[in-house]
Symmetry: C2
DNA sequence: AAGTGGTCTAGACCACTCG
DNA sequence: GAGTGGTCTAGACCACTTG
């Protein structure tokens, strides 16, 4: 039934990934209706002249994404859950605003090398006497001030940042492009606070207005903490949109059951 | 080097999953230090007398969890990122409080079958004239009121709920045990609001205090929305702790690039 | 019994990194 | 060149669901 394009066997892109893309494109184009079964794995494999395992690898990945789900002995079905790209991930302010269709901008409050506070030393796992780069900015979306961010990064990891980076640009992009550091995971705490007079002035809200207080630590793949952020966002204009998924509890309880 | 236990080949538990568990247990027990390489896949496969593919399947799963990471041509390494179980997932209030070590309790404000509002009809994809079960509760942790939750569920999906469910217990547990519905995904919006006099009284805070406003829709695996929740949590006692991960952008931009 | 997804194998080959 | 992870195959077998 479906128009599954043939694969490019000379491409550097792995076959299983090509299949994944082809299927996802068909699903998003509405070729399959929600709740309807996909063609059986065997059929997909035969049609594309790949092995069962390769086809299954693609199916597995799409299951992990949540766009389809498999029932053993029955089939594979389209999930009604849409794959949204607007959910919270490890995103810089710039990326987040761009993905929401807003134009991000920044006003730099300060950009300097300094000695870290004790709590920063601990979260960023710094050596004694190590210095950090600190960047304070007011972030705006479509020229409307949304929040104040203060990022702290170990100088050791990006020694040229203070001289080569234009602090009005995207910090994440700079860290990725010049230092090969891509954020993989971020731990985040969100609390409610009240704007002080200084913050209120910067955000153009009245003193005492409720605000979101973010505390975030970002890590690259090897677990090295790279960035510590304290941020304040307007309570009246900012909201958090996220998608939560359920992960396999059995692995998490391993530690508890061991002893 | 490592003490990899032999596998149980008669178990119903798949070999790749057994390997995954064994490795995770060793990692969490501190047998490997952060940054150190795991034994090569070939060696793991040989030691456990499984094929390369099977061993790799286990490695892949652990990479997805973020506890290890692979560098092609180099090896597989322990990530310094800990696998925490306290992060936000699709959790009921009961589960969330239990995972934080607090004792959850509930005071039922109302529990009834009613006609849904227009916005609920849309989010829960209800038929015209379909009824819903509505449960309003004050949720407490260690007897301290933390929030007010109002859950709405299609009556069609749980026709016996009004007569068989004790509304002081865990709604998620009831839905899972009696109706086989396990929440797979939840979409959530968090905003800041101010407590009205009624809410303030229930939460024992002063009127006008800032509060978290949650709007959440939970889905089971096939994409069917099962629960719509509006909740208000105290801004002074509640905080959101979450872990964000970065997902493959190339798949998300598929739609944008198409046409 | 037939059809489905899930697991596993034994081996081949490739791409990458490092000394 | 040696060692590593990543891909892929062809086929076997199992577990599960449905008619």
């Amino acid at each position: 039934m479906a128009k599954l394009q043939q694969l490019d066997r000379n491409s550097v892109v792995p076959l299983h990934y090509q299949i994944q893309q082809r299927l996802l494109a068909l699903i998003q184009a509405g070729e399959f209706e929600a709740g309807q079964p996909l063609p059986p794995i065997q059929e997909i494999a035969a049609r594309l002249s790949v092995s069962h395992m390769t086809a299954r690898q693609a199916i597995k990945a799409l299951c992990d994404l949540g766009v389809i789900y498999s029932k053993q002995g029955v089939g594979t079905f389209i999930s009604g859950i849409k794959l949204e790209k607007n959910f919270r991930q490890v995103l810089s302010f710039s990326e987040e605003m761009e993905s929401r269709g807003s134009r991000p901008s920044s006003r730099v409050l300060s950009f300097k090398v300094r000695r870290p506070t004790a709590s920063v030393i601990e979260t960023l796992r710094l050596q004694p006497n190590e210095e950090v780069v600190e960047l304070k900015r007011v972030r705006s979306a479509n020229s409307l001030p949304m929040g104040i961010e203060c990022s702290t990064i170990p100088l050791r990891l990006c020694p040229d940042l203070p001289t080569t980076f234009d602090p009005r640009g995207s910090l994440y992009r700079e860290l990725a492009d010049h230092y090969g550091m891509n954020m993989a995971v971020a731990d985040e705490i969100v609390e409610i606070g009240l704007a002080g007079s200084k913050e209120a002035g910067l955000l153009k809200i009245s003193k005492g207005s409720p605000v979101f207080l973010f505390t975030r630590t970002s890590y690259i793949q090897n677990g090295q903490p790279v960035e510590f952020v304290r941020a304040t966002y307007r309570g009246d204009k900012y909201k958090i949109v996220s998608r939560l998924t359920r992960i396999d509890r059995s692995l998490l309880t391993l530690t508890a059951n061991r002893q």
